[in-house]
Subunit: 467 residues, 2 copies
Amino acid sequence: MSEVRRKKVKELLQMEAGADVLAKGWVRTKRGNKEIVFIALNDGSTVRSIQIVADKNADTEPVLSRITTGACIGVRGKLVASVGSGQAVEIRAQELTVYGECDPVRYPLQKKDTSFEYLRTVAHLRPRTNTFGAVLRLRSQMAFAIHAYFHSRGFVYLNTPLITASDAEGAGQMFQVTTLDLNNVPKNKKGLPDFSKDFFGKQTSLTVSGQLEGELGATALGEIYTFGPTFRAENSNTPRHLAEFWMIEPEMAFYDIRDNMDLAEDFIKSLVRYALEHSREDIQFLNDRYDDGLIARLESVVNTDFVRLPYTEGIRILQAARDAGHRFEYPVDWGTDLQSEHERYLVEEHFKKPVILTDYPKDIKAFYMKQNEDGKTVRAMDVLFPKIGEIIGGSEREADLQKLEARVDELGMSRKNLEWYIDTRRFGSCPHSGFGLGFERLLLFITGMQNIRDVIPFPRTPKNAEF
Amino acid sequence: MSEVRRKKVKELLQMEAGADVLAKGWVRTKRGNKEIVFIALNDGSTVRSIQIVADKNADTEPVLSRITTGACIGVRGKLVASVGSGQAVEIRAQELTVYGECDPVRYPLQKKDTSFEYLRTVAHLRPRTNTFGAVLRLRSQMAFAIHAYFHSRGFVYLNTPLITASDAEGAGQMFQVTTLDLNNVPKNKKGLPDFSKDFFGKQTSLTVSGQLEGELGATALGEIYTFGPTFRAENSNTPRHLAEFWMIEPEMAFYDIRDNMDLAEDFIKSLVRYALEHSREDIQFLNDRYDDGLIARLESVVNTDFVRLPYTEGIRILQAARDAGHRFEYPVDWGTDLQSEHERYLVEEHFKKPVILTDYPKDIKAFYMKQNEDGKTVRAMDVLFPKIGEIIGGSEREADLQKLEARVDELGMSRKNLEWYIDTRRFGSCPHSGFGLGFERLLLFITGMQNIRDVIPFPRTPKNAEF
């Protein structure tokens, strides 16, 4: 029997009874009586465990006594039809091996506290729970679905830099990156930190977006996307903010805002469809355990046309609702950014489906967005989702050199620091568009989890960089 | 004809003559005579350009005069059989649109200087060259091949953190991440920087490896891989070093070193095979332009079994070569790390094929590697490649709690900082292995490029963080 190769639990659960098998994994539970022991064994390949049945006798007692919740074991045995409910097959153990014991007194994953708050304090072990196993498998599946989506359409995956000397979106929210001795920062003649002595010879930070570099790629390679970590040194301790998170930013030459909306809608529907098709078991688990509206919500997104609505129309709808007696905490005025309550009203109450809001006032949007002819709005587009709010933000980009430079000046930004970016408009400028999707925002929607710290393996938040 | 949808150049070149088409892209070259103009149009979808043929007359002259190298244009016309060599079809232009002109005097991508050194200074535009288009498409293809390889085998893609408070591999080489005011660093009572006031409440840096967190994933989910940016604040100005680069780090529960070697060899062969099958055109271009041994080198790797050799045997071979008169610059002594010249001798001269060197002296390898019974060596494995040297480094990991703790103590490392990592050996410890592949090292091999700064879009090196 020694030539039997180990099979993963996921495979074993799909096999017919009868085979000699070898399984390895971690003990989720162990129970039994004087004669027989039942072990639920999980190896991370699926949310389901396989049941191991072992006889209890003088021969097996020494090894069985070492097997407790959390222990790592190997089992040789025969796959047999299971009489228990919830599984077709189980393993009748013939040989048990303990790879690693697990002290039940000290093991942090005990039944006593399984709150998400507690599990965050043992984030190094929480992937061993059913919930975080499911979430992390879903995260992996979604990442693959994203790469497969763009790859099949000929997009080039572009790795934009993490360390950057540009501060296009405001340095205040950025993490500094330095090799200067913080204990004794060298100063220049003006008494300021002497960044010429720093590793890169200038002040550098962690990127807040790969978009500007993404546009360099799109205006050469046609269609690109980024998918990598981004950073915000924002002191926000909320269930929606991370200091380190992952972003997907496609950028496409020759796309106008309509092409951009078509892509965004198709993209996100494809991802949700992929999750429903390829990760049904994990989604079902999360649906049944935490959020019985999850699957219905996912299916509704796949099967509906998103509303496309100019911001100005959205404001009118909100004002009409207010005038008809709906209470909003924040005022609804043209020219101000929508609050979460406004977005949710449009999506969850008025339209009851995802909404793509377009043509925002230029003063609340970034300098690179294409200016409309009205002189007041830009070709922005935000995709608003039920429960999540803004899940995608994008725009057609300003392709006109003069307009772009004027906007940079108007906002008091440094043209000099942006020369490399402005070059794309100077040399063979091209109409183009793009958008950004926060990966963890997507995962909140796909998993139904409530806190963004629970959809990334090791969350970084104010005062927390453990593990 | 207005309903004709734009097609990419790659598609157009594969079509039959006869169709009405619309192409958009950037002008690579323009030439002609008094009656006719030939434009080579490229849109980044392929290394090849499509030829546009336009009549020169009073009607077309105003638009043709605006079309120069680098300009962005759209062409409506008919796809016709080409009489020229090197292409089956070309576009007979009926309507030309200029999206963006390109001042030929100021455009940085002129024929006059196309050296790689020069192109690095205009890295924001170099993706518009044939060479960097090919390299960046290959980079994207390889990234997809990596994800597809692991995904098809059930590995979970795990995003390990970039910002870390652990310094397992030595803080001296790490970039500090901080929001402290460098102009006025707050001090604690001891007069040292007061990191309790920093964003994370402690000293943090950019990760040099996701491996330790990867092991947390593997000992819960079974098989995982990371693929993300890593950082070294090493002041090395060489063609082989980047301060920011991308790493792939698979980590697998229940794999011993032999399984690990099997995976590494199969993995890298699959990637090379994928490149040959899916990116033949770009590889052929690089082969023909720069390195006519490239394709032969790639094919030889796919079609050969890698040598597997203990370090001690390798030393014997090198010493025998030395004794027989081969001149090495560095001494060949058991216990010292191999130099590039030694690795290349084994790979390129002695075996003439890739070599997996195993069982290195423990003193030159990391603390987490599984100790062999001889007390002197560890179950390390380095994959050595022609021209590149070490392309993969890995090992079976030490699964024994006591041995791991003893080694941590022996090396004077802080057990306290590693408690979370050591917990994997404390609770259900499991035999496991893993390795790391530097993505840019792989790309040097696949593309035949000589300098690592030319296989990443925006290289970060000492004194350089442009764009």
